[in-house]
Amino acid sequence: MIKFNLFVLPFSFGLIYIVYSIISHYYKWIKALPAVDKVKLVTGLRTPSKILASLKEIFLESLIHRKLWKRNPLLGYMHMSFALGWFLLIVVGNLESRIYHGAYINAPYYPIFLKFFIHDRLVLFFEIFSVPAFFRFIMDFLLLFVLSGLVLAFIKRKKSRWFGMKTTTNHNLFDKVALTCLWLIFPLRLMAESYTAGYFNGGGGFLTQNLGHLLVLITPGPAVMIAYFFWWSYSLALGLFFIMMPYSRYMHIPSELLLIVFRHCGIQPRRWGSVFSDLEAHSCSRCGVCIDACQLNFAAGISDIQAVYLIRGQRDQYITEHIALTCMLCGRCQEACPVGIKIDSLRLIKRREIGSGQITDFSYLTQNHPGFADVVYFAGCMTHLTPSIHIAMEGIMKEAGINYLFADRNGSICCGRPLMLAGKDKQASELIEFNKTLIRQTRAKLLVTSCPICYKVFREEYNLPIRIQHHSQFILELVREGKIALQSQHRKVVYHDPCDLARGGGVYDAPRALLSKISDLIPSEKECADALCCGGSLGLMNASVQEKDMVTRNALESLLANKPDILATACPLCKKTFSKQSETEVRDIAELVYDAIPARVLLLK
């Protein structure tokens, strides 16, 4: 017998369309991969371990939504109920359909609308343990599971804070339509199945069967017609959702799968942009987690430039300069993103598009030999505006008897990162080359800088054959090697992680280890990966002084909540920025160490 009815057409068309669309997208993305990345992909797919890792992550992130669970259980459950629930409905539904249909291949709509075609009589109680009954139970349970998520989704609209979210994304039209379809699908399925079960007095599980009886009782008119209406609506909702999918945020579902695979094959975003970034853009679910992470949003009230809007812009081929340039590149959103999109890279790619045009002329930079040393110390431009830091550094190095060379004693040649932050990598490379030669000439084994901005670019762009340390790491080594003795002052100190040193450079522990040696380090509300930006970021191009001040003030409130005696940081720019507004003394870690050297302690007393 042929299991077919007209109403399955909308679904079927939708399904065909979305399958086609996904395949074509995948094809486009893989085809557009740079040759190098293609190779990575192929080799990756030949490596079982990588495939396994991909599958594991797909399971954990795309179905379970582990990251969201960590963030907020309600939020995690909501997403899981949709993803996992729907996934299981499909899988189990297919298995169930096998019972009633011998063929190996069913029409794809068959399991979806199974209850329309199959409605076996009400069974006697001892048959409860029969296979069909088991499936009926599971399927109803799964439907309930999804519906529970749906209820939460409704609540989230109103009470997003319960889900650990302050702001929610404002969506475009496609998203809204797709969302409505998605929300309708499962209630409609519930109604369709219930009415059917009610009318035929069978075929339903604990949920649909009982609800069915109730509905048939209370609703006048022919239940069979009503059921039929709901089957149509259900099919339409599914079909429309599938058709909307490629144009809405829900494209993230298939996209993310491929992205995970790409990542596990070791494919990375490229400096001047590549299809990888396009895939990342499609993998964004616009959950809006990034909006809450962004200080410009919650501290300065700038709410139109966050990652979600940047990425949408990237995906739909429009990013305004305003969006590209208004960002501190502090990396907080990147940390928070459940999809793990490299947001800062995306933003920088756009800045390169805008800013690369500039013509520079650094021909005036003339080398004269800096001399030789074991350690070359590069204070950095910003440190020249907070001289106490390099004075302390010199004091410490002298105390430790280091044979060092102060590379930029007479004013520095910029490290190049400020230019790169404006998307001017080509122009920066000139400065980088200049400094590299300078550093190489010293024949030093170690490069120490006081500026996290320099530190980051030294490590990422200079590929020097020598070790590179931020002064916090350097000093800690000196202490451990016993080159300097320190005497704790036992003052309450709170430590602020500079963006480029912490999130940007992965240096979290050294400063803390060092501070706990010379003071009573106390925690602050947001630390390490979650640390706030001071607001002075060189990444932020076009915000007003007032807006920057708001960010700083907000960060200070959080840092000083526990009433420390000193606010310690490890970046001249953070120090300068905080000092502008902080009531509490702001000091660089180097200064604190310097003052903890016994000789100095006496001197200061």
């Binding site: 045009g357 500039q358 004013g411 040649i413 910029c414 060189l538 076009n542 007003s544």
Partner: protein
């Protein structure tokens, strides 16, 4: 035409009425804080590039405001964009974005 052995010298006086304010208007729309300058010179004093070159960032955006755009390009190219100028500005002029805007103006207006 007769060569008398000397030629007319160009007038150093700048005629504001003949100035080209297109650069200023564009830059101002991108970075309004250009108007806040009080000519204190701390930006040019701290400028790293100014140690080695004749770049005078303070003069540079002042001449723009006067519509005198003849001499801006050469200077601007020397900027290393380090941002010290912005850190010392007592009026909160957003100099780095100002420089971006100036480059934009040069790209668009030649």
């Amino acid at each position: 035409m007769i060569d008398f052995g000397y030629t007319l010298t160009r007038d150093r006086q700048f005629d504001y009425d003949r100035g080209d304010l297109r650069y200023y208007r564009l830059v101002r729309s991108l970075e309004p804080s250009i108007d806040l300058c009080i000519g204190c010179g701390s930006c040019s004093a701290t400028c790293s590039a100014a140690q080695f070159t004749n770049l005078n960032i303070r003069k540079l955006h002042t001449v723009i405001r006067r519509g005198d755009t003849t001499s801006i390009k050469a200077g601007l190219r020397k900027c290393m964009f380090c941002g010290k100028c912005q850190l010392v500005c007592p009026r909160g002029v957003n100099l780095r974005n100002l420089i971006l805007a100036l480059n934009r103006a040069i790209e668009q207006l030649g």
